[in-house]
Symmetry: C2
Subunit: 266 residues, 2 copies
């Protein structure tokens, strides 16, 4: 039985005969991907940012999103371990410090836990990852594995969704502050700090990728990596919507907020 | 900032002080996991097996399930590559042959494609994996990665959901035959053949695991591996339900059956 090559879904398709894009076209293609697929468009985020989620639904979001937050430094360290160029490694190091903190430990993860605390989640439970939707875990782990197994160009390119991130952070801060009583500076500290960090990271990453995508196939591989990453982000919200909005079927073992029925499937 | 060890979700918890289960108790614990969490309990399967899905919804199921089918030999080969004991490798080899076929190539994957063909899916599209729900891909890849990265005991144990499989295959064959006009012997050949194969595989796997789970912690690791695997199966159906039943939000890029609206999220 013959199968089309390459078998692995998401791998760049057969060699392209198309011309390499110039810098403007390439940036335009990257921008368009965000307009079509970034998770700011997801119905769950629309509900979240317009104040239409209950306290318990926001809890479920924060709890599941923690695993993403928590895994980003693992992802960056996985990437750094594959980089031979010390300058590039040094450049990347600040991302880990941004999330994990310097010696003081006051990084993004700690700020993110302030949100969880404000939402009255048990922090040990959050950190145990025991209440995660399995789909959240699978999506985030797929990201870490992608960065560990694909070409360095694709691995770095997968971080380029940061291009679209400052806008969603700004929208989130203003939406949450407006609609939810609990959404004070302490709770939103992670997102407020992150806006500036993402801007700095994305400028470096985008320039590096543009410079190192030497052929049209490289450029397509970059776009494929960014598309993959939008799927990682989108799938997490699909799972939240399914479990906690509609139809509201919480998978066995996942977090059951107050007022939600613990369903027996058997 | 301290985090509870071990950080990785799903890893066995802190050393147990509980007594090792005897063989009957251990088998009982494995059986109970299936009763509580096997995907035969999932609402999507209940709809499928009772004839309540449209032709197009069944198409979406078959298309997504293909990736699981297609990845099982990759999973088994990943496992075999880690096994030093030639006898055990030989024992495991028949699983790959069952799926991929012998020299003739007439294995389970080919029989599974008969189902896709009957459902009027474009087989090149199916095999390209381009229309998959990202959540299907992430869940299945998590399984392959689990088998490649966990202890050999956990890797082998994760296949033990086969204990529960013959019953669901029987239920599926009778349910589909009864309710769907297209469900003839040609379409269902995969499931019909699989019943006997799964029985043979599970007897070997269960005995091996029982013999090699030497401590209570080993036994808990086995139960954790089986629980993980039920999550892999369950998450695939959650994603199908969400995208094709309710609320019916198909993620960008995934298969849009006839009569389903291609939704623009932007």
């Amino acid at each position: 039985m013959t199968m089309p090559a390459p078998f692995y879904p998401g791998a760049p398709s057969t060699p392209s005969k198309q011309k390499k894009m110039n810098k403007d076209e390439f940036i335009q293609a990257l921008t368009q991907l965000g307009k079509d697929r970034y998770h700011s468009l997801h119905p769950f985020h629309k509900l979240l940012h317009s104040g239409q989620l209950s306290f318990e639904q926001v809890q479920a979001w924060a709890l599941n999103r923690f695993y993403y937050q928590w895994s980003i430094p693992r992802k960056d360290l996985t990437l750094m371990a594959r980089i031979n160029d010390v300058d590039l490694r040094l450049e990347w190091r600040s991302r880990v410090i941004d999330h994990e903190g310097d010696i003081d430990g006051n990084g993004g993860i700690k700020r993110y836990l302030q949100l969880c605390e404000t939402l009255k989640l048990d922090l040990d439970y959050v950190k145990s990852c025991k209440g995660l939707l399995p789909a959240s875990r699978f999506a985030v782990d797929a990201y870490v594995n992608f960065v560990g197994s694909r070409s360095l160009l694709e691995a770095i390119a997968s971080s380029l969704t940061e291009i679209y991130a400052p806008a969603i952070h700004a929208e989130r801060i203003s939406g949450l502050s407006k609609h939810y009583e609990w959404a004070n500076d302490y709770a939103l500290a992670y997102f407020k700090t992150r806006i500036g960090q993402a801007r700095k990271d994305v400028e470096f990453g985008r320039e590096w990728v543009i410079e190192n995508a030497l052929t049209r196939d490289d450029q397509e591989a970059v776009l494929g990596a960014v598309r993959f990453k939008t799927e990682v982000l989108w799938a997490q919200l699909d799972a939240l919507y399914y479990a906690y909005v509609a139809p509201g079927f919480i998978p066995p073992g996942a977090f059951v907020p107050n007022g939600f029925a613990e369903r027996s499937w058997s």
